[in-house]
Point group: C2
Chain length 221, copies 2
């Protein structure tokens, strides 16, 4: 019974890792599609989202049946519950990659407003935050989780820089640029929300590891 | 034991209802603050968010200990798991009300761009969706949950109308209006995201009631 349970937990970890890899890929491809205004790549992200949705449902089903059949205690219970939180965050990150891809489809018929610098940087921050958050979860590493939470400030700052530049350098100076600038501004927001979800995961990890509540209590970090 | 468990379930329901009422209030007050550019009301929403965060944590703690101590089966297990999903959605709705309030603080030093029509309408749709989603959860009413999911299309349409009007009638015509228009555009997005969270709850309710997966399968609605 215990051995079967350990195998099931290991499978749960592997599945979350696979799901995170797909989400990471979706973000990467959506930002590649943006950089090259590549509509077909953007549509690929939109189509592939179904796989991620199905993974979420499959993992949740299995987690629930683990809870019901094995009735795990304390640390394992907490791990499974957190796993269920994490797949919700991962699925919503994938939805945000789809949002980015949809913005790309909207603007792909006109040249890019400007060479992109801060948006790809923001995407790199987001991907690093996701990878670290998942790693922190799998290895129960509260230190790494704290690092993720601190990175969120970089993401906010980059998003803010993108927004200010778009408003002051493009939208105000050229009304014809407004519609495309709004799309870029929303893409920066989508990326920032992806970082927020990575932060949620990191907060959950600290909660799981320390059974200590830092969520909503930044002074305890 | 069973009687104690039933009491605990009832308390869980009551707490979710109280939390939903606070979230509903936060949205109402944030939009009131917008309509009157009332900075102090906006700051009240931001300050009151702490109460909602604490409620989420308290409800989650109790749900976890119910799961651990009572080891409920099938329908009750599903109910408690869904309760934990729902409080996550409610907490994020409250965060979006805070986002709205922050936009209001940003723009409260200048007059409103225009009399607001569609944004308050969108807020009304959002509040109705939340109330119906919670009601559907508490009374296990899949029909009402379906109604919530269908309302999401109205929300998308209203948000789209707001965005098009702001771009075409204000931002393009008057560069000085851009910054304030961006804030309104983001507020409409925040409200649309609130509706998305209500939709998540409704999808969970259908899943709980029917143990049937309609999430990601709109054709089964």
């Amino acid at each position: 019974m215990q051995r079967h349970f350990d195998e099931e937990l290991l499978k749960l970890k592997t599945d979350i890792l696979s799901m995170a890899a797909l989400v990471d890929e979706a973000i990467l491809v959506s930002v590649e599609a943006l950089k090259n205004l590549d509509e077909s790549k953007a549509k690929q992200v939109i189509a592939d989202d179904r796989k991620i949705d199905e993974m979420e449902l499959a993992i949740e089903e299995r987690s629930l049946s683990l809870l019901a059949q094995q009735q795990p205690m304390a640390i394992d219970l907490r791990f499974i519950t957190m796993a269920m939180h994490i797949i919700t965050d991962l699925e919503r990150m994938a939805d945000l990659a789809v949002d980015i891809a949809q913005r790309v489809v909207e603007i792909s018929d006109k040249p890019l407003l400007k060479p992109l610098i801060d948006i790809p940087r923001l995407a790199v921050v987001a991907q690093k935050m996701i990878q670290d958050a998942i790693q922190a979860f799998l290895s129960r590493d509260a230190e790494l989780a704290r690092k993720v939470i601190f990175s969120d400030a970089d993401a906010d700052q980059l998003r803010n820089a993108v927004q200010q530049e778009l408003i002051n350098e493009y939208m105000i100076k050229d009304p014809k640029a407004i519609s495309r600038a709004v799309s870029l501004l929303l893409i920066a927001r989508h990326l920032e929300r992806i970082c927020d979800h990575a932060t949620n995961i990191a907060e959950d990890v600290i909660y799981m590891v320390n059974a200590e509540v830092v969520k909503h209590h930044p002074e305890r970090l």
